[in-house]
């Protein structure tokens, strides 16, 4: 019976059905299933499918957003019940759109997909200055910092942040992305990686911290 409910919960996330996702999460808790199991066998498999479908252009941003919203609603119920170790998951990533740039939809989608893949994401928002990145990296003992920019005027600020990280000798991996960003630009500014889209960002994040990446396909 519970196996069936897990499948339904995954499907609710895939469909972006927030109410159903909440209902099934509560139902599983009532059946005595622990929060970590619900996360691992109900919510995350659903978001895995969403990520693959997004990567393969089967679904687009609106569908990803409502799936992420469904996942987030269930996660809000589970979070108080999860231990710190459970929440730490794959690693901690600091995310932010760099100084001068107020565009955040790409960064938000990447953050959602990373969370859905088990990362703890600290989202610093838009217009993020170097000091804020550095403080957050230190405070959270982050594994990765991810920077986003939409504007050609602001993309250069990524180098300011990366240079500061190196200057302070902080051991953190750096990844960059955004419409005008390319692999060549990422190398130029000294980033450890570049991701073209949210699905690639998850793959890259896993690679950067040494998690084996499986190439998932769906029919």
């Amino acid at each position: 019976m519970t196996e069936e409910i897990f499948k339904e919960l995954s499907q609710a996330v895939i469909d972006g059905n927030k109410d159903k996702s909440i209902e099934l999460t509560n139902k599983l808790l009532e059946l005595g299933i622990d929060a970590k199991t619900i996360l691992d066998f109900g919510l995350l498999p659903g978001m895995d499918v969403v990520g693959i479908r997004f990567r393969d252009n089967i679904i687009f941003v609106p569908q990803v957003l409502i799936s992420a919203r469904a996942m987030k609603s269930s996660l809000a119920i589970l979070e108080p019940l999860l231990s710190k170790a459970d929440l730490k998951g794959s690693g901690t990533i600091i995310m932010g759109t760099v100084k001068g740039d107020i565009h955040d939809i790409g960064k938000n989608i990447v953050s959602m997909m990373l969370r859905s893949s088990g990362f703890t994401v600290i989202d610093l928002g838009i217009d993020t200055k170097v000091e804020k990145f550095i403080d957050a990296i230190k405070k959270e003992n982050a594994d990765i910092v991810g920077m986003s920019a939409l504007l050609t005027t602001t993309m250069g600020y990524m180098k300011v942040v990366i240079d500061k990280i190196k200057e302070e000798g902080i051991l953190v991996k750096t990844m960059v992305g955004g419409a005008p960003i390319s692999k060549a630009f990422a190398s130029e500014v000294g980033a450890d990686g570049y991701a073209k889209n949210a699905t690639d960002a998850v793959k890259l994040a896993k690679q950067l911290i040494g998690i084996e990446v499986k190439e998932n396909k769906i029919e």
Partner: protein, 392 residues
């Protein structure tokens, strides 16, 4: 043949003496390179008109796009003070809110707590919508009011008199010599700007019926604005539909939430005015050129090439040749922004040779030319157009 005639030929799918040249410059480029104070460019019709003409002349463009609304001539009455800093200026308004004016990018208006205002989808009554101007002095308001006005204008007299001042000033300067284009925001763009992108994209999933009711209302405003601009005497109208590419929405959503409304705008404007109406959509549009043509558009602007977008010019030419004009598709980031002049020359030569045959091609950057693009890279466009863009 003057610039205006050359542009008209291309927009009507004919050959002229050479391929016309007309790029859209980012606002930041005007700030950095026109020699005019960014505050004057952003807040005054005169300042922006002067910047448009000055850089058109500097780069020998055959036309300009007036892509900011005319400004309230009394805007200074609302200023409390202006603070200058290394990054630009901050204009503090008497109402407590402020506008950050960077030295190299679009200004943005903020509430006194540093936030930007967006209404929720639940708050919206579609009947109260008509047109949303994202570059209004006070950003998004709902119900929409212009600048510091408190009252919503009646829909049959919605656009303030000063709204067309920049267009009128540029037309006066043109004297029929160069092509003057105006801009209306597509209903889809207005909807995304109104609710903030994420919430608008979720709204079409949550309540497609209400979303469509909103889009229908925003179409009416776009038609009214386009007709007023056409009455002023512009040579063409651009529908700014930046967010309708595959980077955000599917072909199906394009058909449902973009196509019918843009088609309506084009039909209604062209019932009364015999001028081209064309479409600017950013990013990945290679999978939907056919749908864009179904709107009845006369031309497609940008056509971002890979890696920025998904449109290869040879392919686009095969699909669009003889049907709609093409304006694009120089990569503004990976080509124009780069310091390698030789690379720019080779790229432009290839695009001219590919786009030129049979006419209907306007050489342009795909999206706006970035603020820090070396002026030299733009100055050589005319030289290359004269060399490789001539028709026999």
């Amino acid at each position: 043949m003057n610039s205006r005639e050359r542009m008209n030929k291309a927009m009507h799918l004919q050959t002229a003496d050479r391929v016309p040249l007309m790029c859209q410059l980012s606002i930041g480029h005007y700030f950095l390179h026109s020699g005019i104070d960014p505050i004057d460019i952003w807040f005054t019709s005169e300042g922006f008109a002067e910047a448009l003409v000055r850089l058109k002349n500097k780069y020998s463009f055959d036309g300009v796009l007036v892509n900011l609304p005319g400004r309230d001539p009394d805007y200074k009455n609302y200023i409390a003070k202006i603070e200058k800093n290394d990054d630009g200026s901050i204009v503090r308004w008497k109402n407590g809110n402020y506008t950050v004016v960077p030295k190299d990018d679009n200004p943005h208006y903020y509430q006194n707590d540093g936030s930007r205002y967006f209404p929720s989808f639940d708050q919206i009554n579609p009947d109260e919508l008509f047109y949303v101007e994202p570059w209004d002095l006070t950003d998004i308001t709902y119900p929409f009011t212009w600048g510091f006005e408190n009252e919503v204008r009646p829909f049959d007299n919605f656009f303030p008199d000063y709204h067309h001042d920049t267009i009128k000033k540029v037309l006066e300067r043109s004297k029929g010599e160069f092509s003057v284009h105006s801009e209306v925001f597509s209903p889809w763009s207005q909807f995304l700007e109104l609710l903030n992108y994420e919430y608008a994209l979720m709204a079409i999933m949550d309540d497609p019926v209400k979303s469509k009711a909103c889009l229908e209302r925003l179409t009416l405003g776009a038609i009214a604005l386009g007709k007023e601009q056409a009455k002023c005497g512009v040579d063409a109208i651009l529908i700014s539909s930046a967010f309708a590419g595959a980077g955000l929405i599917s072909r199906e959503h394009y058909q449902e939430f973009v196509l019918p409304y843009e088609r309506k705008i084009i039909e209604e404007i062209q019932k009364d005015f015999n001028i081209p109406v064309y479409t600017h959509t950013c990013g990945s549009i290679g999978d939907r050129l056919d749908l864009m043509m179904e709107t009845g558009t006369n031309g497609i602007d940008t056509l971002d090439p890979p890696p920025l977008g998904t449109v290869e010019l040879e392919e686009a030419k095969k699909i669009l040749d003889g049907k709609v004009f093409i304006k694009g598709n120089i990569d503004p980031v990976n080509t124009l922004l780069q310091p390698d002049e030789e690379k720019v020359r080779k790229d432009i030569e290839w695009r001219l040779k590919t786009g030129k045959p049979h006419g209907g091609y306007i050489l342009s950057s795909a999206c706006s030319i970035a603020p820090y693009t070396p002026p030299r890279n733009i100055e050589i466009l005319i030289e290359l157009t004269e060399k490789y863009g001539k028709y026999e």
